[in-house]
Amino acid sequence: MAANPMYQFNVYRIGPEIKIGEIDLSFTNASLFMVISSLAILIIFNLGAQKKNIIPDKIQLLSELSYTFVSKMISDTAGSKAKPYFSFIFSLFMFVLFCNMFGMIPYSFTVTSHIIVTFVLAAFIFIGVTIIGFIKHGFGYLKLFVPSGVPAVLLPLIVVIEIISYLSRPISLSVRLFANMMAGHTMMKVFGGFVVSLGIVGGWLPLSFSVALTGLEILVAFLQAYVFAILTCIYLNDALNLHH
């Protein structure tokens, strides 16, 4: 059973069963890693925020560099109007990043490798961005689906395509993250299985591959968190600065 590469994605109950009516709200290994990631973020950034040195030390530098990194990312993609949403995007980026990174520890659980988690995040972003767009521009937000400079003959087709692409945003956003994480972890598990089955004679090749893959997966873990955050910024940019 443990050799099954998908076994690592199993969710199981930790502690007592918590049920409200028919709904199961039990604390699971997924919940545990969500809590661990959140706590790690809070501890690190709290430590970094408490120091007020003019010349920062390492942990202060870490938090301040992350701050400026995310703030630069937002101002580059969504402009200065997106400033009120900085906290949300910062939390989102850090949460996804830490969940991905904690998933890289062997025998741990990757929260973001579950479609339901990424889909809830993406759906929340989608709904939020749509609400912001309608608040800022009223029904003028629908102009998003009518790009300027398109011949009138093509317009019905373009509008349909635009609407489909807009509605598929939460799916593409969530599936991108989930599929990346799942595929990477499955691949690592498969190569790990090869190491065991080929033994001491032939196991070295998949082992070295596994080592290289670990580096790649760490890169992917960062990159996917970055992509998730920057796509959120781009969607936000559409809602805030309507200039199609």
Binding site: I23, L25, A30, F45, K52, E64
Partner: protein, 195 residues
Amino acid sequence: MKKIILLNIFNFSFCTVAVKSAEKGGMPQLDPEFWVSQIFWLTITFGTLFLILSKFILPRISKNLEQRRLQILENIETAEKQREQSEKNLKEFDEIILKNKNKAKDVMLAAREKVVSEITKKKMKLDEDLTSEIQNVEKEIIDLKLSSPKKINSIASNITNEVIKRLIGTDVNESSVSALVEEELKKLSRSTNGI
């Protein structure tokens, strides 16, 4: 027997369940059993994270960054001010040095003039003294020159007189002796002059 059959059935059903779950476990992500729980805990953890970050931690980091920026700007400003001040001071210093240099030059020139004039004055006085001394000495020499032949004559006639007295033992007329001596001397002076 019945028991064994029951056990077998139980085993079989258990195995099929296990196999089924393994097959179904092709993708545990698509098993909706814990979906609600995951959504619930995601909301709680992410919500808490967002609230704490946005209310407490991020404002503090932003304040730190802003403070540092202000501090750096302030430092740059004071540095600029100090640089200007020091440039001004340097200019003033240069001016003072130039002024003093000129003053020193003037003083030196005055002193040199004074010294030179004094030296010339002293030199002139010395020259005067020297010329008067030389004149005196020349006069003395001339006097001596003038008076010396007479003296020599008298001394020579005296000596001649004495020598004659010793040789002959008689006194000779003094006037003849002196005439003789004079003649001899004239001859001598003529011969020395002739040389």
